[in-house]
């Protein structure tokens, strides 16, 4: 059996999406900017995709810009907002952001910017007072993620955006993990900019969305032709944009049922694993998080070893251990939350999607405990059985 529980890394492209894309690799090859019918026909599909993407977050289609990925959208927000306010030299973000925001913000230090990285508590939650106190006249941008990719913990984006708004500071949210999983309404949440990634919601890799509220000053990141209303140059990636349109359409239509489906399975998996495996801990706030994500630490054993043993029985997950992060230290999210190194090295993230089944979850519940037990029997730190 093969069970894919790494949907926060990437998702399966929905078969409906693949089908919707196919004509644009074939007869529908026109350039949407062209005057002839080849182009005009294609442009219609781009417009439709824009409307669907807007509908998912209750935005206006004119506020939607297609990009190549979530990372591009994040970079566009940061660079675009800073360039629009060249006299302000201060950025506020958090310690647990995705590298697409954190590295892009830290990079600006070399151009004289000051970065405030807000901390989180042991459950991964933000202190809004710290945000309020950090904003100054020099603040050019606040960028906070909607949902954390490692733990699924949700930040109070509405309240945070309202604080920024009250002080007149533009607010960006990396909503890559949240969009499609929980309802998002930009009419009710005063964010100025928002990033979406296609492949996290069953569109293919290589397409993203940048939302910029009407009236938000954002300088273009890519210069060239006048595509995307002059906000993002470059010939549109037509098949992928059409695919994204189909994917967000499906996500919008099924958001409630998918929420319930993934949450039921996730809760079953989580409670069974914590019950069956001794010395485990849940990382992140148990309620304030995405319905599909569970991050569990298996103490006394190491994440990469767990992952490879899971992989050996066909189960795909991910880990915040040092060995899997490509560095020698465990994930920056675990460290910011103050998860002890001993538990951070053995943290495993299970992230579900609409395609997971009860049968698959029961399979993982059967396979995971013996793996933890086996690795513990090899570990010099594990408490002796019966002791």
């Amino acid at each position: 059996m093969e069970v894919y529980l790494d949907n926060n890394a990437t998702t399966r492209t929905a078969p409906e999406v693949v089908e919707a894309m196919a004509p644009f690799f074939g007869t529908e090859y026109g350039n949407p900017s062209s005057m002839h019918n080849f182009g005009g026909r294609v442009k219609k599909h781009i417009d439709e995709a824009r409307e669907k993407a807007a509908a998912l977050i209750n935005a206006d289609p004119a506020e939607i810009v297609f990009t190549s990925c979530g990372t591009e959208s994040d970079n566009m927000a940061i660079r675009g907002a800073l360039e629009a306010e060249p006299d302000k030299r201060h950025i506020i973000t958090s310690k647990v952001e995705h590298p697409a925001v954190l590295s892009a913000a830290r990079y600006m230090k070399r151009f004289g910017y000051r970065i405030t990285e807000l901390s989180v508590d042991g459950q991964g939650l933000l202190d809004l007072n710290e945000l309020r106190d950090s904003i100054s006249d020099d603040t050019a941008l606040v960028s906070l993620m909607w949902a954390n990719n490692e733990t699924g913990v949700l930040f109070p984006i509405k309240e945070a955006a309202e604080i920024a708004q009250s002080k007149g500071v533009p607010f960006h949210t990396d909503a890559v993990q949240a969009v499609g999983k929980i309802p998002i309404d930009v009419k009710k949440t005063p964010v100025n900019m928002l990033s979406i990634s296609g492949h996290k919601l069953h569109a293919p890799k290589g397409v993203g969305v940048f939302y910029a509220r009407r009236g938000t000053a954002v300088m273009p990141f890519m210069h060239g032709g006048h595509q995307e209303n002059g906000r993002r140059a470059g010939t549109e990636n037509v098949p992928y944009i059409v695919g994204l349109g189909r994917a967000v359409e499906i996500a919008a239509a099924n958001i409630d049922s998918e929420f319930k489906h993934t949450k039921n399975l996730r809760d079953r998996l989580e409670s069974a694993l914590i019950e069956k495996c001794p010395d485990t801990r849940l990382n992140g706030h148990p309620e304030l998080r995405l319905p599909n994500t569970s991050n569990i630490s298996f103490e006394y054993i190491e994440g990469e070893a767990i992952l490879l043993m899971l992989d050996n029985v066909g189960i795909a997950a991910s880990s915040g251990s040092a060995c899997t992060s490509g560095s020698l230290e465990p994930s920056h999210v675990m460290r910011a939350m103050g998860v002890p190194f001993t538990a951070a090295h053995g943290s495993i993230r299970f992230s579900l999607s609409r395609y997971n089944t009860q049968e698959e979850i029961e399979y993982v519940i059967k396979k995971m405990p013996p793996i933890a037990e086996r690795l513990r029997s090899m570990s010099p730190f594990a408490p002796k059985k019966g002791a």
Binding site: E302, G303, S321, G326, L328, E329, T342, M378, F381
Partner: protein, 283 residues
């Protein structure tokens, strides 16, 4: 995903000799849970002083478990004198190689073995690696000057990144990078003056040879040519024969032939193998 050899996977999924020896003659423990990996090695000797049983307990990733398993297999049947000559490279070789970022797992194996032997010789003292006799360079991972010196000398390391891969030193806050650079420079100058001889790869497969030639060109040769406005391009590698094209200022330079022999060929002979012959692409 890491590129592990079949042998690493086998020793990870079916580790040999796990567990505890209650009446062990020697026990060595290195690493810590905070560091992300730790190994406890135990052995028993037979009447003739050969290791008759060796067991381990490991907290760590797949390559740490595989290195521990391999180590116990390698030392069984050996006298302590024979076992003490095992280097981290031997452990990696036994496993068909380890990704460079994972070499510290093999170093951990070697250190645990030495600690266990030391433990036996001192009659049960010093089961942990004695670190107090050497200055701690990397405080994030508790790595001493001696450990870094040894890794540099035995594995012919050149960069801070490599030292991190082999010992973990410098993999945390990065505050010790210049210190590590100093140690590398000092140890390497010692090597050049006839210290312990550097291990040039003894035999190379074609693919290893090509990779090594490319690395040496990137690291040792190109920067030197670029300083003079020149550049070099690898055209072909056929056994010991390396064909290059000189670019930029080098392509018009009257002394390019000397550069070819005194720089390009000399460096490749130094770092790849003695029989390298460098030719310029015929125009």
């Amino acid at each position: 995903m890491w590129d592990y050899t079949e042998k690493v996977k086998d020793h990870f999924l079916n580790p040999r000799n796990t567990g505890v020896i209650e009446d062990a003659h020697g026990v060595g423990q290195v690493g810590s849970m905070a560091c992300g990996d730790a190994l406890k090695l135990m052995f028993r000797l037979d009447a003739e002083g050969r290791i008759e049983d060796a067991r381990f307990q490991t907290f760590g990733c797949a390559s740490a478990i595989a290195s521990s398993s391999a180590l116990t297999e390698m030392i069984k049947g050996k006298t302590l004198e024979e076992a003490s000559t095992i280097t981290n490279q031997d452990i990696a070789d036994y496993l068909g190689g380890l990704p460079e970022q994972k070499m510290h797992c093999s170093v951990m194996g070697m250190e645990a073995l030495q600690a266990a032997i030391e433990n036996y010789k001192s009659g049960g003292e010093a089961g942990n690696v004695e670190k107090t006799d050497s200055r701690v360079v990397c405080s994030c991972f508790g790595v001493t000057e001696k450990e870094i010196e040894r890794a540099v000398a035995e594995n012919d390391l050149r960069t801070v990144e490599q030292v991190t891969h082999y010992t973990k030193a410098g993999g945390g806050c990065g505050g010790c990078h210049s210190d590590i650079e100093g140690i590398i420079a000092r140890v390497r100058s010692g090597l050049a003056q006839g210290g312990p001889t550097r291990k040039r790869p003894s035999k190379l497969t074609n693919i290893q040879r090509i990779k090594l030639v490319e690395e040496v060109v990137e690291r040792e040769i190109r920067p030197q040519l670029k300083r003079d406005g020149g550049d070099i391009e690898l055209v072909d590698i056929d056994g010991p024969r390396v064909v290059v094209a000189m670019r930029g200022a080098c392509s018009k330079c009257s002394v390019a032939q000397f550069t070819l022999r005194d720089v390009v060929e000399a460096k490749l002979r130094e770092f790849v193998s003695e029989d390298i012959v460098v030719e310029e692409e015929s125009k």
